[in-house]
């Protein structure tokens, strides 16, 4: 059975994938929006996050509306990974 995702681990994966230099996991609020006024990520960052979810957790999205909702914050990502991961 897959273990529950550690949010610190997820944040580290995001920092690494997006090359967020100088940023620590503690700097990212679990509930804060990742896009727009939050971390200020853009749509290609979103694509990189989808790649992270695919490579690390075997999650593929059927449509962009669903993926947008999942990538809203660390909390929503972690919850989705817990419920849908295949590895």
């Amino acid at each position: 059975m897959n273990h529950m995702i550690n949010k610190e681990e997820l944040k580290n994966q995001i920092i690494l994938a997006l090359n967020l230099e100088g940023m620590q996991p503690a700097d990212i609020d679990d509930a804060a929006p990742l896009f727009g006024e939050g971390l200020g990520l853009d749509s290609i960052d979103a694509l990189e996050l989808l790649m992270v979810m695919d490579k690390n957790y075997g999650i593929k999205f059927a449509n962009k509306e669903e993926s947008k909702a999942v990538l809203a914050s660390i909390d929503t990502m972690a919850e989705y990974i817990d419920n849908h991961r295949t590895k």
């Binding site: 290609i44 979103a46 990189e48």
Partner: protein, 305 residues
Amino acid sequence: MAENKTWRGKTGGTQRMQKTLIRWFRYIDTRLIFWLTVPWVIGSIIVMPRERKAAYHYWRRRHNKKPLKACLCVWKQFYAMGHVVLDRFAAFAGQHFDIQVYDENNIMHTLQHGEKGFVILSSHVGNQELAGYFVPSVKPLHILIYLGDTAIMNRERERLFATRKMFFLPMQTDGSHIFEMHEVLQKGEALSIHADRMFSDTRTITADFLGAKAVFPQGPFRLAAVEEVPVVTMFMLRTGHNRYQLRIYNLSKATDKDLSSRQLSNALLQRYVHKMEQVLRDFPEQWFNFFEFWTEETANAANKK
């Protein structure tokens, strides 16, 4: 600044003018119509002072031309632009073009017959739109566009597209077109993106280009790097009346798999710029970015406002 470099994707002239031109190209010898280029060039040079100045700087600073020679080159550049625009209408009217194809290491052929999707990083050098109509096409080709053009232009494009496997992929203000681009590449199809123009609030990346710093959009290079797909660039260069040379260059290398997506994105930019420099050495007058493209010129223009 970035605002000078944003683009609305619009062809000049009213819808009625565009419709008339297409009709003329169907029934009149095209060489006669090309005489229209002369008054068009004169008119454009007079009524487009900002574009004229940017073109003059291009010749003076990037090609080290003396003032008088630079003025002559500006004329040639506007003249070349007129021909390229008219050739677009000629294509809509069904004109035949002789195209000499240079496909580096047969890369386009290989990619068209391969399983993976691929990215074409295009530019405003030569007649890019015509390249889309005449490049050998086996796979569906999706072209990222800004839907700012007239109904006539878009209808004629769609009519031409219908005979080939070409599709518009309109840009969305919320960036959601990125997901559609991802789907295209995941399906193993081809995607064409302009990599030398900004479309509002675009993140940028700087490169040395023709001896000075210039700003490019990050998006096309980052997308290609994140997707880990092969990347090419191509240039449709006008060599005479209804004659073109299509140059296709491979921008990917076998060693790219060892690079992080950021490193690969930077490497693709460097290779893209290098190929553009190569082409502009042979066809300098077919540079059709009529704004202050280089950082130094952009800063000067902003300071004078």
